[in-house]
Symmetry: C2
Subunit: 372 residues, 2 copies
Amino acid sequence: MSGIPFNIAATDGAARTGEIVFPRGEIRTPAFMPVGTAATVKALYADQVRATGADIVLGNVYHLMLRPGAERVAALGGLHKFMGWQRPILTDSGGFQVMSLSALRKLDRDGVTFRSHVDGSTHRLTPERSVEIQRLLGSDVTMQLDECVRLPAPKAEVERAMLLSADWAERSKVAFGDQEGRALFGIVQGGDSADLRKESARRLVDLGFDGYAVGGLAVGEPQETMLAMIEETIPELTSARPRYLMGVGTPDDLLKCVARGVDMFDCVMPTRAGRHGQVFTRFGKMNLKNARHADDPRPLDEESDCPAARDYSRAYLHHLVKTGEILGMMLLSWVNVAYYQSLMAGARRAIAAGAFSDYAAATTAAWEKGEK
Amino acid sequence: MSGIPFNIAATDGAARTGEIVFPRGEIRTPAFMPVGTAATVKALYADQVRATGADIVLGNVYHLMLRPGAERVAALGGLHKFMGWQRPILTDSGGFQVMSLSALRKLDRDGVTFRSHVDGSTHRLTPERSVEIQRLLGSDVTMQLDECVRLPAPKAEVERAMLLSADWAERSKVAFGDQEGRALFGIVQGGDSADLRKESARRLVDLGFDGYAVGGLAVGEPQETMLAMIEETIPELTSARPRYLMGVGTPDDLLKCVARGVDMFDCVMPTRAGRHGQVFTRFGKMNLKNARHADDPRPLDEESDCPAARDYSRAYLHHLVKTGEILGMMLLSWVNVAYYQSLMAGARRAIAAGAFSDYAAATTAAWEKGEK
């Protein structure tokens, strides 16, 4: 526990809005964190990301430890300076990507040994090394190393991974120690088992963390399963600390999870979709590859604050996507990151006004209606 | 001839500086035109391109006629509106790319029929159709259709292409007619033959154009051959009109050709090099892929006006290039386009001060010295 204030300004049902106050700046919650995997939010300048309203970005330990390397980043003055982002950064622990990206991983009780997907070199992550890497990077929010099980999985396997993650949480806390102005979050595991989720949450709360993440969701299960697990887990978590749902999700996921008390999100969806011709706006999801946009002089959303959504015709965006132009990826990623931020800003205002369910209903109806 | 003023403010040897005045804005010469092949200067926002000091960009008829199509661009309000660039645009005629990119091209005296490299569809370009396409796009500078021969080539072949290009120049002029506020440029051909270059230039001057381009150079011949051809050609061209060397070149090519009286340049080099990890700065050419940059905290050029050259460490740029991040292409393209513009701005100031040869010598010496 490092004394990072989380000031809840208003609640509305289970939803809440507030600020997490770091030395590098406050994070307005509910918050969406754009993902800057390899020290860049893909296809965007850092100052653009900030201008969309993002208070914090995420970096991936797995990618950064392989390239450029944590010690190198530290010698260069830390991740903030390296990537030109002066506000808070949350780093994940590397566990999820080790499971999903690396080759020949071998897990034991002490940690995990794996081969880099880049060059085949061998690396090892332990809870202690993950904390150390995140300290070297200069993360404002350190995540514990955990083991994330792909669903569906046998309950015994889910339980084993949950218990291992709980053990690693404790070791992470010891390794982290007291770091003034920096936070350490524990991660709830337990797959699709309500019992295991609750036990995982209780173990973490007993240890005491600056914030609590829910991991191992949005890994292939239906949205109802995800929501059910959140509903089971959230009441077990200390309401005074931030709750972070990892790797989620669609705009619809975000609204439904904010309604259930989640404060923080991250997802590659806005940038990944933007690189593949898809945009999210207040009219819903749209695929710019579709030929129906080829002659359309309208912008994506003339009322948007984002220049990419407001100042370029759909015809031009369609053309850029069809021709594979980098500018197309730049503009659509910008549109999406801006939309996610505006969605969260709207949620914060609605919660403060005690009108979140109306906001969520109106927003969802607008997506479904589209422009017709 | 459409009455576009070209005001030469100063000369220094064969070099000159001035302004070409279009309704959409003036072009300060010597000018470097960034290439916006498919209605985008690759990996840059239009307002960034402008902020580097570019007064004009180039669009490629070949690419634009295939995608999105000239009639479509016209229906959408023209190329300026389409791509969000409000200052002048020069479009090439399509001839060069038909020869270099298309499949199964068949040339006759009337024009050229070819298959699209994108989808295999059949298209035809004639001098008249090229002028029409450029009118549909809304080009400020229309280029005549020409035939560019790859060197080395037999003189008879070079002569045939030169005479065909001269015939097409005449037809282009008829087709262009009078277009208030828009310019038509003829293109000198003649390969590496001084006789043919001179004859080509004289034929164009007899016809009378708003400006004169030198085409068919930088197509594989040594720099000395290119410079020799320019020296033979320039004196034949009307000194009162702009001279444009097509598709050139390196920073060194630019200085040497400015010294010989060239007013305008275009080249994909700054953006293409930027997408492949190479930068041009006042210290010369540098490959950011090189491992020696991995731990280097210095910016590329702390004195640059370009944020990409000034505000990011070489270590970070190296990392972005090594990991194939789009931001790396964005930043290095920006560095290069900005450097080319600063090189031209320096040339303009030096010519105005009667010190161009000193400027060229000092600039070249700085490239050769590097940073040591």
